[in-house]
Amino acid sequence: MTATRSWVAAVMALVATVAVAAGTLALGGFDPGEALGALVQGSMGSPSVFLSITLVRAVPLILTGLAVAIAFRAGIWNIGAEGQLYAGAVAGTALGLALPEAATAWVVIPAVMMAGAVAGAAWVVVPAWLKLRSGVSEVITTILMNFVAIHLAGWLVHGPMQEPRGVFPQSEAVSEAARLPLLVGGTRLHLGFALAIVMAVALWAFLRFTVAGFQVRAVGANPEAARVAGRLRSRRTLLWVFLASGALAGLAGAVEVSGVTYSLYEDLSPGFGYTAIAVALLAGLSPLGVLFTGTLFGALEGGAGAMQRVADVPAGWVGTVVALTILSVVAVERLLRGRRDG
């Protein structure tokens, strides 16, 4: 993936998203100007709106977007970021609740993050094993594991992990020490955003500068050549990528609990792990690009609420835009690629 190509992808992403958004609004009989105006106002109308709404939403999108990007770069079609996120959220919450209230945040927060990452990685072990052992398509298995994780979280907040009064389907709130500190006072922007940026830069540097990252790219670009010309045993590389991808998505879950909700909820994620596929594809699978596309979709989803109030556009519309944008970008990319090969 060259620099030019990721730039082309980023511009394409923006143009496609705006075009699809305006087009679908017009088709639905809404005034695109009014609706998009409300969307912009509601997502970046003021610095505090931008920080509290858009960037807060961008955090899980960036982290799961990175999870999808690293997997796709290696040729692994991990569609299970959603489930891995839930696994991470469950583990993070459980650990946050289990640690003594008096413990210092310097210990608790890293421990909660680690628990999320480990649980996310654990959630891909079965798909990875099935794929690398017997070639079972990870597309199917990771999707199926999503349902397991989502319903497992649902059962937990109705049962073993339900708050003591047993009224709401949610867990008890984690202690102060397990909550991520705010980055900017007076907003809801938490430390998780910095973590997301660090992860994106680290992943970019990993792919670009390290031996292991080069091996991941080689295996993804041409597994045969990686084996023959690169003398690589791709199975080991792929296993690590599976685990890293799951860990990043699991981290997103722990960050979401620790930075935003403070409790485990049934519908903790409005489909971050699925939107992550669009985030990663639009970024041309480039980790730095994910920072931008993650923020873009954060704005879209964050502004959708304002748009519903002002212009009466149903919130589900954003899902349509996301889906149509994936389709148009994938189509354009294939066309460009087809022209090059032909």
Binding site: A212, Q215, A218, A225
Partner: protein
Amino acid sequence: MTAVRIRGLGKRFGPVTALNGARLTAQAGEVHGVLGENGAGKTTLLSILAGLLPADEGEILLRGEPVSIGSPREARALGVGMVHQHFALVPEFSVLENLMLGWPGPLLSLPREEVRGKALALEKETGLDVALDAPVKTLGVGERQRAEIVKVLLQEPAILILDEPTAVLSPQEVEGFLRLVRTLADQGTAVLMVAHKLDEVLAVADRVTVLRRGATVLEAPREEVDAASLAQAMVGAREAGSVVHLREAAALQEERPPAEGDPVAELRRVVVVDGRGVTRLRDVSLEVRPGEIVGVAGVEGNGQRQLARVLAGEMAPTNGTVRLPPEPAFIPQDRRAEGLVEDFDLTENLALRLHRWPRFRRGPFLDWRTLEARTREALATFSIRAEGPHTRADTLSGGNQQRVVLARELEGEPEFLVAESPTRGLDVAGESYVHQVLRDLRDRADGPAGIVLISTDLDEILALADRFFVMVRGRLVPIHPGPDLRERMGAGMLGVE
């Protein structure tokens, strides 16, 4: 009656001439053997007749009428049916359902009983035996092939093309198959059959046509040929003044002293059985010494791929011992699939092999600056026509791509190199460059290398090798140098004693 007459057929693929004035004449009711080495143009010729490829020049007459065949559909309408080397059956469907595919008629009708009746009648007539209701995936290759033949025969072709039909069959199946071919011809079909094994052609054919380098070099009735004369026609007599001739003459005058020194690579009684239980290498033993090129010729599918893979340290043998230097240099046959990552730039392609070497890394990081400098040098050393070290590999021509592979594999002055058809698809200039590189590596003053050259191109082996082998059905057979080397190797490749 003359069923098919082909004259002056020409076909080029980029710089490669596949057919150059080929001709072929076959009568209705005869079995016609089409012979030639790999790359001689047999499959191209028959693919043009079957409408799969357009010809660049030449004419085709069917039953005396000049025709132009633009597609397989047109070929079928003209009575030409082809059974391919690789079957085109839907594995999940039963044989009958496969037969119904492509059956003419309205889209919404299912002519199940009609097709069953026709197929049963055909099976009775020809003695072809296929279980119509069995799913194709449960059938063995022999049965699949019979299903494919039934499918083609249901179109009642006047001309039936069989492309290497016996390659996938066991010896017992071959016998029955050849009887079937005879029966079909006796019923009036002109059967054109490509085969590598001379004894099969001699057993069944009425006439033969031999192609060499895209041209027809022999057309004769069966009675006038034997295995020796066919082999000779296929591999060709010595052409005066040709590179091969000069090389052979030189070899005879001044035999290179045999290479000495400890072997750099050694196979002892190596056996390879593939995943399907087929034995690919049988008891192969070989020692490669520094300063020699060991040439292995053979018709494709006789175990060369497995030999190359074992020598490259890529495949563990099922049995036997292998001693190799660490990480042998390897030029794989398919550079686009295995030799390069086409999405990578040239530096990254060199890094594929070099990225683990201490010189090119700093701890866990790649030293891209050193790698890029090394690539720049390689571009100059190997005269690679590319803008720079960051040119993408897929923008290069085949010859330049192969130079990139060579540059990568020759890095670090390897003592042992395996080259698998290294000049496939290259033009003459590219070919002679690769040959020169291999010779220089062998003769390197500060430590000659041992090289194994595996090729389906006999001329390449003769031009380069110091010792000669042929691969036949998984066995590595030594051929002694000396007079008539070319003829003896050609015969050896074809399994003629």
